[in-house]
Homo-oligomer: 325 residues x 4
């Protein structure tokens, strides 16, 4: 048996596109409790108190909501080179470019569904300015005590026309591990959850029922306690933020979740709980169509929009919601 590839260290950051950049900024800064870590062009960079890197969110003004790119940091320079070589050998190569604020040269490429990924190694270690200096030096910046208080970016969920194809691509070329999976009776992979490290997943693909490539289902930020998610719901309610579903616990991955719509139109999750996967030889948990039909939230159903909507918004969503799913 060949030893598994473990070249990717962790999900580093995500670029989110918003047609309402000012309102989206209020959502992430005042309501989620993140801090601005820089600005450049049409983008504002934001960071959570647990981020050791400069930023985990790049918020970019755009005509439409959706995802800009997702970036992983590798374990080393050599690991980065190995992944680039693998992508190019597979005919999936992209191009190097100067990184975002806070990290070095990045190699960008597309997954089969058309989402943009970036890989890099060189990264600026964040040093808090005096007003954000934490009481405990093992924490990157002080606990905000403002709004939800998210600790870090947790995962990104893409929509894809064919989740299985994207899974194979990421396993083969990036060395991500498949940890959980929905396989329908006809063999279709309706959802795949992949991980770069001992978190049980950091990127997910679920089926795009509108069959539109390159869309985003949601991005998720982590809070320490389930009670923080409940308090987040109290805070979202006070701010008039629309909550779509939750707080509840998914059967898959056991994530305790709350889905909201940020003002720019993207679905943003606040999550907690779940578990780590320690087994180096973990076998993916496969959920069948029948198991899946039992309901996702402690055995209860989630709302229809959750299974259909994404960003950018497409008119097929409305047709599907009108017709059931």
């Amino acid at each position: 048996m060949t030893e598994p590839v473990r070249d990717l260290a962790h999900l580093s950051h995500v670029e989110l596109l918003t047609p309402k950049p000012d309102e989206s900024l209020v959502y992430f800064r005042e309501i989620l409790g993140m801090e601005v870590a820089g600005e450049q062009g049409d983008s504002v960079y934001l960071r959570a108190f647990g981020d050791y890197e400069r930023a985990s969110l790049k918020l970019t003004a755009s005509a439409q909501a959706g995802i800009g790119h997702l970036a992983y940091r590798t374990h080393s320079v050599e690991a980065l080179e190995r992944r680039v070589a693998a992508l190019e050998a597979a005919g999936a190569g992209g191009a190097w470019h100067d990184g975002d604020l806070g990290h070095g040269a990045a190699y960008g490429f597309l997954d089969p569904d058309g989402h943009r990924f970036e890989l890099f190694y060189e990264s600026e270690r964040y040093a808090a300015p005096p007003e954000l200096r934490p009481a405990l030096k093992n924490q990157p910046h002080r606990y905000p005590g403002r709004g939800v208080g998210v600790r870090q970016l947790d995962h990104v969920n893409f929509l894809a026309v064919d989740p299985g194809e994207n899974r194979v691509f990421l396993q083969t070329n990036l060395g991500l591990r498949l940890t959980e999976q929905i396989v329908l009776d006809d063999g279709t992979e309706a959802g795949v959850w992949l991980a770069s490290n001992q978190k049980s997943y950091d990127v997910t693909y679920t089926r795009d029922l509108t069959r539109t490539p390159g869309r985003l289902h949601h991005i998720a930020f982590f809070v320490d306690q389930r009670e923080d998610v409940l308090r987040a719901a109290d805070i979202f309610l006070e701010h008039g933020i629309v909550m779509e579903s939750g707080p509840h616990k998914h059967a898959i991955q056991q994530t305790f979740f709350l889905y909201t719509w940020e003002p720019g139109g993207n679905r943003v999750e606040v999550c907690s709980g779940g578990f780590l996967i320690f087994a180096p030889d973990h076998e993916a948990v496969v959920w069948s169509q029948a198991e899946r039909a039992k309901g996702q939230a402690w055995g209860m159903q989630t709302v229809a929009s959750f299974h259909i909507k994404g960003t950018p918004h497409v008119s097929e969503e409305d047709a599907l919601l009108a017709g059931g799913h």
Copy 2:
């Protein structure tokens, strides 16, 4: 720069020695909510609901309280072979022996302070019997709904005459990473925290003020929420279990802790919280003597016994407690 060694997958289990095996068993099974996973000779094996392996605790009847051994699982057979070769090259070699119940051949050796470690790769994947089958198939066995409900073994804290010497040994030979450290004004390392994976630590050494080699400070089990630790305190109180310190949050590692004395005389922690370390190039956080003097629990002091007592119990502890420290 050489790529770092990452051959150890995770802390797997610990063997605890108890002069009161029946009462200790009640503590772990009825109060912590673990399940018996096998018996052999003078040992009972126990597992928590999140263990994917057979057991995380081997409870062995013994004349004195203390630690039997601590075992890590490696990432692969090759990784195991690399570590054994490194240990033997360093003149720290031990010997192969048949494993405990639930895993294959293990390589045992001693750290400089005399604590026994074991390494192995082959491991039995746990399959729950019908009465312990969980509602969600991504969980090894059902949530007990009994007692504290610990999810998994979290870490082991050894006492050592010289923590620094043991740190170097584990970094060099096992590839563990140093994540946090106490360095006194005279350069003495009063405490070291090491990790095999993205958990921020799984093994710790703190100074043995009695200068007795090979002792245990405590073992710790993880619960999902800080509220579970508070509820644990309620439960320990009802069962007459002596609590030494906590619930509180350490400055170092930010662990939310509660220390109890199990009936056999060993200190056992129930913990939650903390954080993961994602940075592949994490630099150890170093706490100075002055920082340390600020108090460990949200800036408050912990009790004197916490800094002195261990197992097996030695008479020097009493002398130190009488004289202050």
Copy 3:
């Protein structure tokens, strides 16, 4: 202004009817964590760890699910006599009878919708047997550390053909205070919440859309923390108990709720949170049809069955669920 009547001290207990008494008993004892406090005829009495009286639940075998009676304890003998006199003067008199196990003579009568109420004053103060003796003497019996661990009966929610008529009856004759209310655009009272003390409600009437008199919507037990409700969901899932709705927070009364179906067919809620009402001159909060349409659970909708089903079950429920509501 006349001083308000405050003769009722608190909701004392409820009698629940079950066609599956053995399975219902397992639900309340093993899953909710209550203790058996006596048996008599077809009834088993159960108590929660916070009950200072003997029992808060009388579980009675019956052909159909539903409610037997609800009992309030008065502040004094004189207060009891005043309430009986008021009921008789209003032509709503009932009859005295020997009490249930644990309390003295009770006066039983019916509300306009036909639910049975009982009032009493003399009550046996519970003294825990050795095996249930708590560590802290200000607690009636020890925290169970088993299952959900409910502290006490919280409230009873009746269905009624006309909630408003029943509200007037309870305000006038028992001196209960109206704390919150749903008033539709046509003036219909769709729901009323009443309180005997500083808890914000202990009895509720919501409209019976099947127009069947005397039915029960649910009974509710209190746990100390919202996290306990989340953990309850984990436990219910493991035991195959069907959850209908929640964990979520109601807009009305801000109760944090989880509704389950106990094996006998009655809806049982586990709840926490909410608030106390300290104002002696509290004015009822009135929710309009439009406000109500915004959704009940942090602004999200609850499932249709929640608004229709009750016990005993009637066939009109199925018709309503098929036709929407």
Copy 4:
């Protein structure tokens, strides 16, 4: 048996004296998350999000830290008149004066130890301005999402030379109920807990070991969840607020507590948990000297300063702390 007096509705507000009014204001507004509800002379009025009255804290600039007065609202005008008549008949009469901002005429008097009490009935019902309007109309103002987020004033703990004498005074003249009590072997009452309603206490006296009359031990604000207290500790730590003791659970009253020193020098508690007392004939729980010696916090000891210090600060405290206690 005479029916018990229940003329006091609830603890309404407290006046705190501070030599550092600006810094104390930051503590209550930015760290505890209260809102300013008015200013007058040397006083700033503050309110918490659950206060239905205008304010629960009057913060008054003063040469020394300490307590100004404590105020109860009565159930009615008649109840107020009855209490005034009782006080005057007992020779403990005081005088009427115009109330603070937010309430009508108040009757002020002193307890035997010299603390000032006020009683009133007329009270302004708070109506939130647009920027503080809550999402849920059954809540006085919006959840702050800032700092600790306290809901309401919970209780006041006075120091007294003779707690027993003050207990008798409040039971007799105000109709407060004794709920818990510490009685030493020599019959001395070392602590008394009294309640006006179903909260298990709202005013407490503990012995002043310096034998200085009229001092304050602490005031306490309530948060909804124990987890909120833990998060409060995280927030206090970030703001450099000194924590004296906790988070922990008292044996007496089972309050989950955290004691801090606000910048003006007064001890302020953030608390949660505990229980309600529903029994109209509740008998006080009496803790003996031996029971008390078992430790207060889940069986562990609290720090010495907790048993000695109060405001205003007196030099005897230092002598006692130096000499043990």
